[in-house]
Amino acid sequence: MKRKSGMILSIATAGLSLLILSSCTKDPIRNLSDDESRIYITNYDSTAQFGAFKTFSISDSVAVISNGELKEKTQTDADAALISAVKDNMQQRGYQLVDKNNNPDLGISVNKIISTQTGIMSYPSYWGYYNTYWDPYYWGYGGYDYYFPYSSYAVYQIKEGALSIDMVDLKDVNANKEIKGIWNGLIRGEAIFNSANAASQIKALFDQSPYIKSVN
């Protein structure tokens, strides 16, 4: 009897201890700072000749896309800081800023993606509805459609907020009435919509995209 109770006690002690011991796992991402939490993803069309473009235009507002639908276009201080940072980086890379009515070679838009649904919104579906966020008419190409050759590479899924900067080729719109996306910068993480972080975030996207450079 004594032997049996000792055995049961030892098994119970071992089981209980294991349970407690395995709860000692340190959460590896709990102590990340806001800066450390952020990731910067860039995709580009490897066939695009970035050096051949000379001018660009950028949207004057930020499209807010919630659960795959365009909700509004906003011009907050944070939006202005993002747009300004993209302008600065493009100009540093030798591109000339022109009005969108002056036949820019490149069109750039800034998009805030918010997913409030419990499910997951995948990136291909973001690009699939692009013409509802930025009607090609905005760039002076009414009746055209967008085409993003790299959408299949964007395997990262959006669970909450993301900032997407998209660059489309307006110089080589083809006979199929397609406007091709040639570059995308995606920012995810903590405090990405904070205007104080706009400049460093956009710089990070350009730093990892050295091929964006005009030979002007």
Partner: protein, 207 residues
């Protein structure tokens, strides 16, 4: 959590107090150790190089003779490392991120132990555990989960150490030792989670 561990120790102590004789034959012993483990080989160079200070092991061993005992052991180790921000090339682009790797190992093994000097004040021993290993691997880019895998694999653990009884006739005592954890784990270029550990703890008779 600390309180829970104290309760376990207290329970084990109460059970152990009644026993005085040091002979191991026919006795069931509980060993609980705090363990510090360091990754070796490709686990160290490719996944995590940081030493883990979050580790434990425990065993329950029955004395077949004064020198030889058999039983079971289980353990837990938590390894993690954060790598500074870096740009990683991807198919068709790049990702800049702070990368974090996290690995937990829970070996559950049968164990045999040989005590060279069962009646000495300091008792050197060798032991070996063989069995399974629940291994969890997770990688994060920033705060986002990039990949993860939980696998049940093989684990072999040779060990050497000393037992120091609390008194001449006490079956309870202190454990100090070192072990090597051989743990194959094949996933996304990872070959194994091999590590070596040093540990210290107490040994108590359960009956």
């Amino acid at each position: 959590m600390k309180r829970s561990i104290l309760i376990i120790f207290a329970t084990a102590l109460c059970v152990g107090m009644g026993s005085k004789a040091s002979a191991q034959q026919g006795r069931t012993m509980l060993n609980i150790n705090y363990s510090v483990n360091t990754p070796t080989g490709s686990f160290n160079s490719d996944v995590i190089s940081n030493t883990s200070f979050r580790g434990w092991n425990l065993s329950v061993l029955y004395g077949l003779s004064d020198k030889f005992s058999i039983g079971a052991q289980a353990g837990f180790n938590d390894f993690s490392e954060k790598f500074p921000r870096k740009v990683y090339d991807t198919k068709g682009g790049a990702i800049s991120a702070v990368l974090s790797n996290s690995v937990q190992t829970i070996p559950i093994q049968v164990k045999a132990k040989y005590n060279f000097l069962p009646n000495a004040p300091v008792q050197p021993y060798v032991a070996a555990g063989v069995g399974g290993n629940i291994a969890m691997y997770n990688q994060y880019l920033g705060v986002f989960s990039n990949s993860g895998k939980t696998k049940f694999g093989f684990a072999a653990t040779p060990e050497a150490g000393i037992n120091i009884p609390f008194g001449k006739n006490s079956a309870s005592g202190i454990n100090i030792g070192a072990n090597y954890n051989y743990m194959p784990f094949s996933y996304q270029g990872i070959k194994n989670l091999n590590n070596w550990g040093v540990f210290a703890g107490i040994k108590l008779p359960l009956k």
